[in-house]
């Protein structure tokens, strides 16, 4: 369900008013301009999804600010967790001599754990610090599909890491 014209105008006005202030906060919290921009975009996406809530709020700017803070917290924790999982996956099999392995070998090794392209996607986000949008542009899929793909791959990798502890 999309926004009606009235809601669209409300969001666009708010966006123009709050894009720079929110970006300033996000950039200082995340120290990465691409991630900061994505945090702000995600904040406005949530605002659109909950447009009735923000419209009825006595302080829409405060509502956006609180939402941005939660988005940033989620982003930091989620990315840290993913990085830990990827690093753990390097140590997953004691029989692998990492000294003699290159990245493509590790991808092949994990092809039975997660689909190879999914594992590469996780590495893009964790190690190359890609935003979802950057991953989306590389893969030619939608933001929604990318989020689902990341969640699915994480779940699989997590399951395998736990099973083989």
């Amino acid at each position: 369900m999309g926004l009606d014209d009235n809601q669209q105008r409300f969001i666009e006005k708010l966006y123009k008013e709050m894009y720079y202030p929110l970006s300033t906060y996000a950039l200082n919290a995340l120290s990465n301009d691409s991630l900061a921009e994505e945090a702000v975009q995600d904040t406005f996406r949530i605002a659109c999804a909950k447009v009735d809530d923000i419209k009825s709020s006595e302080n829409p700017n405060g509502w956006l600010f609180n939402t941005l803070k939660y988005v940033i917290k989620n982003m930091i924790r989620s990315r840290a967790r993913l990085t830990n999982m990827i690093i753990s996956s390097f140590d997953f099999d004691e029989n692998i001599d990492v000294k003699d392995s290159d990245t493509s070998d590790i991808d092949l090794l994990y092809s039975d754990i997660v689909d190879s392209s999914e594992y590469k996607l996780l590495k893009r986000i964790a190690l190359d610090k890609y935003t979802m949008l950057e991953a989306v542009q590389e893969l030619g899929i939608s933001v929604e599909a990318c989020k689902k793909r990341v969640q699915r791959a994480k779940k699989k990798l997590k399951g395998h890491l736990e099973k083989n502890k």
Partner: protein, 293 residues
């Protein structure tokens, strides 16, 4: 200007006169507060607007311009409206960080919040003074030394202390001072390197100890990060292999990046790295020296 706006303007005018660097430090300090209730939202929003206004007047190029950003938002994010959770919302950590219940605006600002923010302001000023050295306390309207005395009594800590001496034992002494008792400091480095400096940066989430050793042409950087909450950094590497080296039961990873060698390892809540222009064999010798081998 309405009376309410005028009161607000007077209340917050102190921030109009602060440098952007100080204001940004306040935002950074606020973003690191463990408890969102400790944040003074009205003040932070005001500070954000001050910086944004300056950005509009004199763009720094740090942000995507608003028209491009709006186009990207409309094309990439707006179609994904069915889900009201963050893109990074992990279902399995929903209880810790979930955005399921987004708190609505609460207009009351507690005294504690204002105190926390004042602390953050003081810390921001100290940080900028230490690193930039061009901001004077008087210009900002603060008695900085009185503020320091008060600041040390507060629970919130975010400080930068720079120690510069020439004793070769200073990294270990600094680690001792911060109760870092785990073996993390190298006792051997390639010939010609001697201790240059050590500095410590503290935030609520981590304490970072950086020590530099130098020879005539180059430097070796030893970094020890004590984490309050376990997390992991990402290290950049080039296409060459990662070498695993076990010492004292701990895996150390040796990698190269931009013709420099980096050793990284985790031990307990400490994340450590040594970076410099040395060979893999020398890296292994440096690692051994940490454990007295």
């Amino acid at each position: 200007m309405s009376e309410s706006n005028e009161n607000n303007h007077q209340k917050y005018s102190i921030y109009d006169n602060m440098s952007t660097e100080v204001l940004e430090e306040i935002l950074r300090a606020d973003s690191q507060l463990q408890n969102d209730k400790d944040s003074d939202m009205d003040t932070i929003l005001y500070i954000m607007e001050v910086i944004a206004k300056r950005e509009k007047e004199q763009p720094t190029g740090k942000f995507t311009d608003i028209h491009t950003a709006w186009t990207s938002f409309s094309e990439n994010y707006l179609p994904y409206l069915e889900n009201d959770k963050s893109l990074y919302d992990d279902e399995d950590i929903k209880d810790e960080t979930g955005i399921k219940q987004i708190p609505l605006y609460n207009s009351s600002t507690s005294r504690k919040s204002r105190l926390q923010l004042r602390t953050a302001c003081i810390v921001a000023i100290i940080t900028v003074m230490l690193f930039v050295g061009t901001v004077t306390a008087n210009a900002l309207g603060f008695d900085i030394w009185e503020a320091v005395a008060k600041w040390t009594k507060d629970t919130f800590s975010f400080s930068n202390v720079i120690i510069n001496t020439q004793s070769p034992d200073d990294l270990q002494k600094t680690l001792d001072k911060y109760n870092i008792n785990t073996k993390v400091a190298p006792k051997w480095l390639p010939e010609g390197y001697s201790f240059k400096s050590v500095d410590v940066a503290e935030s609520p989430l981590r304490t970072i100890v950086n020590s530099i050793y130098s020879n005539k042409d180059d430097e070796i950087l030893v970094t020890i990060i004590s984490l309050a909450v376990p997390s992991a950094s990402t290290y950049e590497k080039d296409s060459s292999n990662v070498i695993k080296y076990n010492a004292d039961g701990i895996e150390h990873y040796i990698m190269t990046n931009l013709e420099r060698t980096k050793v990284v390892w985790m031990t307990g809540n400490y994340e450590c790295s040594i970076t410099g222009n040395f060979s893999v064999e020398e890296a292994e010798k440096i690692i051994d020296s940490i454990y007295g081998r």
